[in-house]
């Protein structure tokens, strides 16, 4: 008994040793503070100024924020990001869910086919985004030659559908959205599939015995059980879609016009092409607040469901 106590005591002493805490935590913390925390506040500071290093800075107060409120381009980018997130996130998770049901209910779990399909559907997740985007550019090309999609439309005699998909804002939006869904749905499929595997087999068996099948099984048993995981997935997905940058830059460059420019790209252009560091930071701050708000609200819901 006394040995254990002294052991606890020794343990306490060792685990409370500041030198070791410092040794383990300090390197990461210092790097993290210097290159992530400080820049966050630095950006917040910039957002109150106008200018850039060569011309000097001028204090603006909240002038940049007021300006964003009236800036057509900002509002358009904001709206584009929102629309994009509202289409892509449900698309990713919805299709991901359908796929996970396919894995879970239709395919035999350990069968080669099942593994093969899961592996295949997941693959685009890990591909370099620029490569995927460039592939889509080629898929949807119209000049100088038809890309795959227009060529197939041509062969099928659907001439009326042949169009410059990436040359117009409305169609470019759908190409961008479907590209992202195509890329990411495999990830959510595996994530939700792992949730499905956690559902006790008896629960499903007994529901089946009660006569629930197919659609009812999904609606009454599976969906409610997966709710926390759905919310987690949504947080994950929104974090990707609200911050989308690479794919759009490589697919459309934000065009035509600014019709497919998300906030992230608008921030980048403002800062690095127009040399407006202050206003660029303002956009970054707004974007950050947006992400934190969305995450906060969803986390709140998750806690309520748990």
């Amino acid at each position: 008994m006394s040995l254990l106590e002294s052991g606890d005591h020794a343990m306490e002493r060792i685990l409370r040793d500041w030198k070791y805490v410092f040794f383990f935590v300090a390197p990461a913390l210092i790097l993290y503070s210097a290159l992530l925390l400080v820049p966050i506040f630095w950006s917040m500071g910039y957002s109150l100024f106008d200018g850039f290093p060569i011309s000097g800075f001028r204090f603006m107060g909240f002038g940049n924020y007021l300006r964003a409120w009236k800036d057509q381009d900002f509002l358009r980018s904001f709206w584009f990001s929102a629309k994009y997130a509202l289409v892509v996130t449900p698309g990713q998770i919805g299709l991901g869910f359908l796929l996970s049901l396919l894995y879970f209910l239709v395919l035999k779990r350990a069968s080669r086919l099942s593994v093969l399909i899961r592996t295949l559907v997941f693959f685009p997740v890990v591909l370099p985004t620029v490569a995927v985007a460039q592939m889509f550019v080629k898929l949807f090309e119209i000049t100088p030659q038809y890309g795959l999609v227009n060529a197939i439309l041509d062969v099928l005699g659907l001439d009326g559908w042949i169009r410059p998909f990436l040359g117009r804002g409305d169609t470019a939006f759908w190409v961008a959205a479907s590209m992202n869904i195509w890329t990411a749905m495999g990830f959510y499929a595996v994530l939700l599939y792992s949730g499905l595997l956690d559902i006790p087999q008896e629960l499903i068996e007994s529901a089946r015995l009660d006569g629930a099948s197919g659609w009812n099984l999904v609606r009454l048993i599976i969906t409610p059980l997966l709710r926390p995981l759905f919310i987690t997935s949504t947080i994950f997905s929104l974090n990707g879609t609200l911050k989308v940058f690479d794919q759009i830059l490589a697919l459309t460059g934000g065009g035509p016009g600014k019709s497919t420019t998300p906030l992230t790209l608008y921030m980048y252009r403002t800062a690095f092409h127009y040399n407006q560091y202050g206003y660029g930071s303002t956009i970054a701050v707004i974007l950050t607040i947006e992400c934190l708000l969305v995450t906060g609200i969803l986390s709140f819901f998750r806690q309520k469901t748990e």
Binding site: A10, V25, I40, V126, T288
Partner: protein, 273 residues
């Protein structure tokens, strides 16, 4: 069985949608220049035109970009895992007052968009002369990868029964020994899963390398590819497809080897929490 039959068309469609674009990509990369105009775009080429790859690799400098990506990815990956695991150990296993505050600090970083730190880092690297060097990328990748690493590894250590580590402490091992000889080997699988996630993050980064590096000889595969397509994209289809394939193939090979582990990692994953 009827069920299977009912779903078969869907499964076939799914496989086509996922695989065909990639097959098309690779088959197009082996076409001769004239075949793009004389043959339908979906036709396979008669002869394999490897010259496209040679052109993409040398003239398009994809080889250089590839090397740069390797040079910058692996050290960053190593350091982010090392520092992050250490920090997670210090936060989760050790007992001190501010640990929850520090943990919160780290976790807050997960939600921060890149754009929020981009300009200050740009100015900082510029002032310190690190702009247009690999150091800028290396430091940024390590830092930006820390929050996820700390988050992932603290949840791992949290789930660990405390007796295991405490036993070795009672055996008289120092904390540093415990960390390297017990904690890290035990966490090897978790670290490996995390390494894969981080690898794809770093390897596929575009915005940092676009912002911090403008010299051609330092570009990574993503920015290099963007640049390549900008220069050759519409005129030389063959080399463009070859360049895209070159960017895809290493990831594909790596994925083939690791896909099962990735799936298992995700299925067992801390992400569900």
């Amino acid at each position: 069985m009827r069920k299977r039959l009912f779903f078969t068309p869907f499964i076939i469609l799914l496989v086509i949608l996922e695989a065909y674009p990639l097959v098309w990509l690779v088959s197009s990369s082996l076409k001769a220049p004239y075949e793009f105009t004389t043959q339908p775009i979906y036709a396979f080429s008669e002869k394999l035109w490897w010259g496209n790859y040679a052109k993409a690799w040398t003239e398009g400098k994809i080889g250089v970009y590839f090397r740069n990506s390797v040079i910058v990815t692996f050290p960053s990956l190593f350091l982010v895992l090392f520092l992050g695991t250490m920090a997670a150990f210090g936060i989760e296993i050790m007992r001190w007052k501010l640990k929850n505050v520090v943990l919160f600090f780290f976790l807050a970083g997960i939600m921060i968009p890149v754009q929020m730190i981009l300009l200050p880092l740009f100015v900082f690297y510029y002032r310190t002369g690190l702009l247009d060097t690999r150091w800028a990328l290396f430091l940024t990748y390590v830092t930006y990868g820390l929050p996820l690493t700390v988050f992932f590894m603290t949840s791992y250590f949290q789930a660990l029964p405390p007796e295991i580590l405490e036993a070795s402490i009672l055996d008289g091992a120092s904390l540093i020994q415990v960390f390297f000889r017990v904690a890290v080997p035990m966490a090897a699988n978790a670290i490996f899963t995390l390494a894969m996630v981080q690898f794809f993050f770093i390897w596929n980064d575009l915005i940092f390398s676009l912002t911090f590096v403008s010299k051609t000889e330092l570009r990574t595969i993503q920015t290099g590819l963007l640049n390549f397509v900008g220069r050759f994209g519409q005129i030389e289809w063959g080399p463009t497809f070859a360049a895209i394939s070159l960017a895809v193939i290493p990831t594909f090979l790596l994925y083939l080897f690791l896909s099962r582990l990735i799936m298992e990692g995700l299925t067992a994953g801390a992400l569900k929490g």
